[in-house]
């Protein structure tokens, strides 16, 4: 049994909150560049150039890429041979978020109650997702999630008879209905299967996979490619000004489900798709 102190988790979460908000993952940078090379619509090229300039400035000046520094989604994959000591795990994660958002000059965008809406002032609580896995390490991923795109996400419980074509239509319609609102070009995370809640979690996790890594299942890898192509025929374009680049990636995650159901969730992320991981 390996002992890990909560203090160490706090330190990692603090650092990841700051870094995730200042530096875009390499796969997203590359995808934006390659979309720019394929784009011949003038307004679209202009937007993609400004987006590229923006993440360069953010890195140089250590200023957040986007002012919506998000709700801090923290994924913890905890090895079953780890014992966490020195305090309460959830409190340790929140303390990391509190420090990261304060020391990193990040925006505090969390309200205590969804109806009464008073800001908590320190961006806590984090949205914490824990998973017990084999091993004696803890993998920590911080994914700050902006709500311009979160608000355009959708979930539907389909009948099995509705089949693949209905799933395709739903994905396409969700992106089309979102239009310019989620700051395209977007990344589309799709979760199919499981239960109502598991489908949503799969869609969120799909956003964590690099956009240049296809699904390991050839059937879904082909579907990802096809959906990306169809989405980029919608014409919405960067910022909705028209153009080819509506999405830079479609990632699909699936799991077994009930004989009576076919849940499907579509979680949309903006071009500032942020996540940073560290293993302790």
């Amino acid at each position: 049994m390996r002992e890990i102190q909560v203090q160490q988790i706090t330190d990692v979460v603090e650092r990841l909150c700051i870094e995730a908000n200042q530096y875009l993952p390499e796969d997203i940078r590359k995808a934006i560049q390659s979309c720019h090379a394929q784009e011949d619509w003038e307004d679209a090229r202009d937007v993609l150039e400004k987006i590229t300039e923006n993440f360069k400035i953010a890195g140089e000046e250590k200023v957040p890429i986007c002012q919506d520094t998000g709700l801090a989604c923290v994924f913890l994959e905890i090895g079953q041979d780890v014992h966490i000591g020195g305090g309460n795990l959830a409190e340790a994660v929140d303390e990391g978020v509190r420090r990261g958002y304060s020391r990193g000059y990040l925006r505090k965008s969390v309200v205590k109650d969804p109806i009464r809406r008073e800001n908590t002032g320190d961006n806590t609580p984090a949205m914490i997702y824990t998973e017990i896995v084999p091993g004696s390490q803890i993998k920590i991923t911080v994914a700050p999630k902006g709500f311009g795109s979160e608000n355009m996400s959708a979930l539907r419980m389909f009948k099995p008879s509705q089949g693949l074509e209905t799933i395709k239509k739903f994905i396409l319609e969700t992106v089309e209905d979102a239009g310019p609102n989620p700051c395209p070009p977007v990344v589309v995370g799709v979760g199919i299967g499981g239960t109502f809640d598991k489908a949503a979690l799969l869609a969120k996790k799909a956003l964590m996979r690099p956009v240049d890594v296809p699904s390991p299942d050839p059937f879904y890898a082909q579907l990802e490619e096809e959906m990306l192509e169809q989405i980029n025929r919608l014409g919405i374009g960067p910022q909705g000004f028209g153009g080819r680049t509506t999405a830079i990636g479609v990632n699909i995650e699936t799991m077994p489900t009930h004989i009576a159901g076919m849940p499907c969730a579509v979680n949309i992320n903006c071009h500032v798709t942020r996540h940073k991981t560290e293993i302790i």
């Binding site: 987006i51 953010a58 200023v63 002012q67 000059y105 505090k108 800001n119 025929r233």
Partner: protein, 189 residues
């Protein structure tokens, strides 16, 4: 078309702008998003004074990140305009000439834009670091308790914007997409 414009923005200025124009804005503008709009509309209902004069004013839908020491402001890109749809017609009726945001607006907002000769500008969503460079002065003037949502008076220089909805109701989100798809179709023929 590229145009250089200044605040305050008059009706005549708004009439000269067309959906799709690339605009560089210089002058004083004010920040307000969901919570500040709610308070300002409540204040108007009660006949109370507003934090700034709405006449010919430009409102930027933004909640910036805190500034680092020695900096004017943090990251400061636009938020989704549609969330202000419930308040925007009241603001325009009271003199608010232009809004800066991103994303679609309701038909009621487009009608109010036409009725009061206003304009809806888009700034690039997610480009908060780039846009913060145009902001030369920032002063918190009201609703400090709202934090990022407080009302700030900004002085901007050559802020890059695009006209999304003009005073005739033309909408770049519709026309830009349509024009692009038309070129794709003609290329495929």
């Amino acid at each position: 078309m590229e145009k250089y414009i200044q605040t305050p923005l008059t009706k005549e200025d708004a009439k000269a702008l067309h959906a799709g124009d690339r605009v560089y804005l210089t002058g004083t503008i004010y920040t307000a998003r969901d919570a500040a709009h709610k308070r300002m509309c409540q204040a108007m209902e009660r006949g109370q004074k507003l934090p700034f004069d709405l006449e010919d004013a430009v409102i930027y839908y933004v909640g910036p990140t805190p500034e680092r020491p020695g900096k004017v402001i943090g990251s400061a890109g636009p938020t989704t305009g549609g969330r202000m749809d419930a308040y925007a017609p009241v603001m325009m009726a009271a003199g608010n000439r232009a809004m800066i945001g991103k994303g679609a607006r309701s038909p009621q907002v487009t009608e109010a834009i036409k009725e009061h000769t206003c304009v809806y500008f888009g700034a690039i969503g997610g480009a908060g670091a780039l846009l913060s460079r145009c902001i030369k002065k920032c002063e918190l003037i009201a609703y400090e308790d709202l934090g990022a949502e407080a009302v700030r008076k900004l002085y901007v220089e050559d802020m890059p914007l695009v006209v999304i909805i003009d005073c005739e109701g033309n909408n770049l989100y519709e026309s830009g997409r349509k024009a692009y798809l038309k070129t794709v179709q003609s290329n495929e023929k």
